[in-house]
């Protein structure tokens, strides 16, 4: 006779088989059995301060390691606190599994204490979800959840666990095979060779190609194939925000980031190219500007694992559905070196004529700080960010050289992501140096997780670009609302004292000369978090920028404008048309 096991024990057994070594979360009435089973196992359980922190940690862990991150919360408020984190992972296709407690099956729907319809609330922001009503379904649900989270286009999966499903007993049978008949990854049609061939023919005729890369290359582990393609075609490579790291920015073929706050010459290159090879990217509106003006002269190829992201914003000429790595391997067998000398030379000139730059001011500039972090870490650290100007400056001025080193909220634009995501990344990659480059506004949204980092003596480093503003909001208000600072000014906070209160090292930096030494000092602290409070120029603007509703090659605050009028691009009122399109994120 086989022995019976409690549902929570089965859950933990399944987690172990998925290779889970750490989970992030907070216990409560409805998930005590789960925490008890975890307690008895050798899986590390990291108690966070807030469930949003737990979800972001699981997300940061997943982005940095490529493994599935796991967060755990109790029913009701525990589960609803996870929602921002789950939505964030959903928008950026990050594989996490969220385990939520639920009231007993018999009282579901009765408005029982701490009951929330968690599956219902999270349905639009999960790739899939399970409500385990019967302990006999536990093993299969967990097995499938991990499988779904990490395969195809990855994403968050939620498992809602009513108390009885975790305390009732059944025989543990591990489902070796996963068989989900409605899951397209299993029933995926083979790659359409003819379609790849057609794209290869278009590439052969090109003299001005640009490769445009998104996070799909990172998810699919195809950085090496991308490099090979770029080298073979001698084609320049630009990435979206989330694609940063998939191609080394130190490579001469790198064009850096395109899009709203991308480089001017990069957007111009995309406007001029004759073939655009989109790989694992989704032609997001932050990338394209006005969609029908995007890369207008180019034949467009789009390689993506998810058919629903093809032709969504921009209609392409050669759609190719399939795993990015597989498609690239096939494509590589069909293409030959191109003659792109003239094109590369032209791009070089454009770069020299319109470099990314800034003007010195009295106070320290965030751009300079980020350049220093980049140099001090040789572009090899894992960098998490909040959302705002500092995030865009990080994308512009940190030179990312390897995949999975930028941990940032791209799709949802979630302020408060930086610190918990950095903590998750540090748990996943203990040997790496992990920085959170943050804004004071974003940092304060989840600053309490310093307690989590301090407790585990994580050497996470936080660089706060303290401008006492919601800087990005302030910039838009200056640009489009005649400088009316509606709710964008922040109260000054002494982040050194805050850091020390949590048991972290706190450093204040007010002079340019102290920037690099402070960074080096932080790098030398190995046994606790360090917070550097950089008092930066308060009203520095982030340039260049595609104005809302404008084509991607018409940027504000370009090099030309900066050199003409000393740093301030022309201030003007938004047209009603622009105003209706204003959305900050």
């Amino acid at each position: 006779m086989t022995t019976k096991m409690k549902g929570a024990q089965i859950l933990v057994e399944c987690l172990k088989r998925e290779g889970v070594d750490v989970v992030f979360g907070i216990p409560g009435g409805a998930n005590l059995p789960t925490f008890d089973a975890l307690y008895k196992s050798d899986i590390r359980v990291i108690l966070t301060v807030h469930e949003q922190g737990a979800a972001h940690m699981a997300d940061g862990y997943a982005r940095a390691t490529g493994k599935v991150g796991v967060c755990v919360a109790t029913s009701g408020p525990g589960a609803t606190n996870l929602v921002t984190g789950i939505a964030n992972a959903y928008m950026d296709s990050i594989p996490i599994v969220a385990l939520t407690g639920q009231v007993r099956t018999s009282v579901i729907g009765n408005d029982a204490f701490q009951e929330a319809d968690t599956v219902g609330v999270t349905r639009p922001v999960t790739k899939h979800s399970y409500l385990v009503k019967d302990v006999r379904d536990m093993a299969r649900a967990v097995r499938e959840a991990f499988y779904i989270a990490r395969t195809g286009r990855p994403g968050p999966v939620l498992i809602d666990l009513p108390v009885d499903s975790t305390v009732n007993e059944t025989e543990f049978v591990y489902p070796e095979q996963v068989n989900i008949r409605g899951y397209r990854v299993q029933a995926a049609p083979p790659i359409q060779t003819a379609q790849v061939q057609a794209a290869a023919e278009a590439i052969k005729r090109s003299t001005k190609p640009v490769i445009y890369v998104g996070a799909g290359v990172i998810h699919s582990g195809a950085a090496a194939e991308l490099m090979q393609l770029a080298r073979t075609l001698r084609a320049p490579v630009t990435t979206s925000l989330l694609g940063l790291g998939s191609f080394p920015e130190t490579d001469p073929l790198s064009l850096g980031m395109l899009g709203m706050h991308g480089f001017e010459y990069t957007n111009l290159a995309v406007a001029e190219c004759d073939v655009l090879i989109g790989i694992g990217a989704r032609f997001d509106d932050r990338v394209t500007g006005k969609p029908d003006e995007f890369a207008k002269k180019a034949k467009k190829i789009h390689i993506d694992v998810d058919p629903s992201s093809i032709n969504k914003t921009v209609v392409v000429d050669y759609p190719i559905v399939g795993d990015v790595k597989d498609v690239l391997c096939l494509l590589l067998s069909m293409v030959k070196p191109l003659d792109t000398d003239a094109w590369l030379k032209r791009l070089q000139t454009m770069k020299e004529q319109a470099p990314l730059t800034y003007r010195e001011k009295d106070r320290i500039l965030p751009q300079y700080i980020i350049q220093q972090v980049s140099e001090a870490t040789k572009g090899n650290a894992i960098i998490a960010t909040g959302v705002g100007q500092h995030q865009m400056w990080t994308a512009q001025y940190y030179q990312f050289n390897r995949p999975r080193t930028l941990v940032t909220s791209g799709g949802l634009g979630t302020m408060g992501f930086g610190l918990p995501a950095a903590i998750g990344a540090q748990f996943g990659c203990p040997k790496d140096t992990v920085w959170d480059i943050d804004g004071d506004g974003s940092f304060m949204m989840t600053a309490q997780e310093l307690a989590t980092a301090a407790k585990h003596r994580l050497p996470v480093k936080v660089a706060i670009m303290n401008n006492q503003f919601h800087g990005m909001v302030r910039q838009w208000q200056d640009q489009f609302y005649e400088g009316r600072y509606a709710s964008s000014e922040l109260n000054p906070v002494n982040f050194v004292k805050l850091a020390e209160a949590y048991g972290c090292v706190g450093i204040r930096v007010e002079r340019k000369a102290d920037v690099r030494p402070a960074i080096e000092q932080a790098q030398s602290v190995k046994d606790r978090p360090t917070v550097i409070d950089f008092l930066v120029e308060q009203k520095e603007d982030c340039w260049p920028m595609i104005a809302p509703g404008k084509p991607h090659f018409q940027m504000l605050g370009t090099y030309e404008m900066l050199s003409k009028d000393g740093g301030v691009a022309q201030r003007r009122r938004a047209t009603p048309d622009e105003e209706s399109k204003l959305s900050l994120g």
Partner: protein, 158 residues
Amino acid sequence: MNEKHTISCLVENHFGVLARISGLISARGFNIDSLTVSATEDPTVSRMTIVVDADAVKLEQVKNQLNRLIDVIEVQELKEGQFLDRELLLARVQVNSKGRGAVEELLKRFGGRIADANDHWVAVEATGGTKQLDQLIEQLRPYGITKLVRTGRVALEK
């Protein structure tokens, strides 16, 4: 240009599936004209027939999005002329026993019948294609329709 499209989906027969599908369609801003769920020859699978109003690009998106759902096993667009479709109509018409004959005549032509009656009204029943039922309703209207329900379209590939 917006048009009516009929999508037929095979889906897992368990709770929550309907919410997932209707949530997905409404989240994309589509109007559902009708949606029916029913059993099939396989008890683990249900058939959903969805009629939406959409242009070609949006329709393609809906199909792709539906395909992304794990609980959706198969998505098929049924094109004009390639499928049989039926719906059931029930309506209460205000005719007394005197006027009943004319309604009965009308129903005969549409293959319908009177399902219930009293001194004040008759309940009529008819099945047919969407257009056919639309016509029937037009012709019943002069008699005074006080209540009406239709099941929405179910469809079968030819």
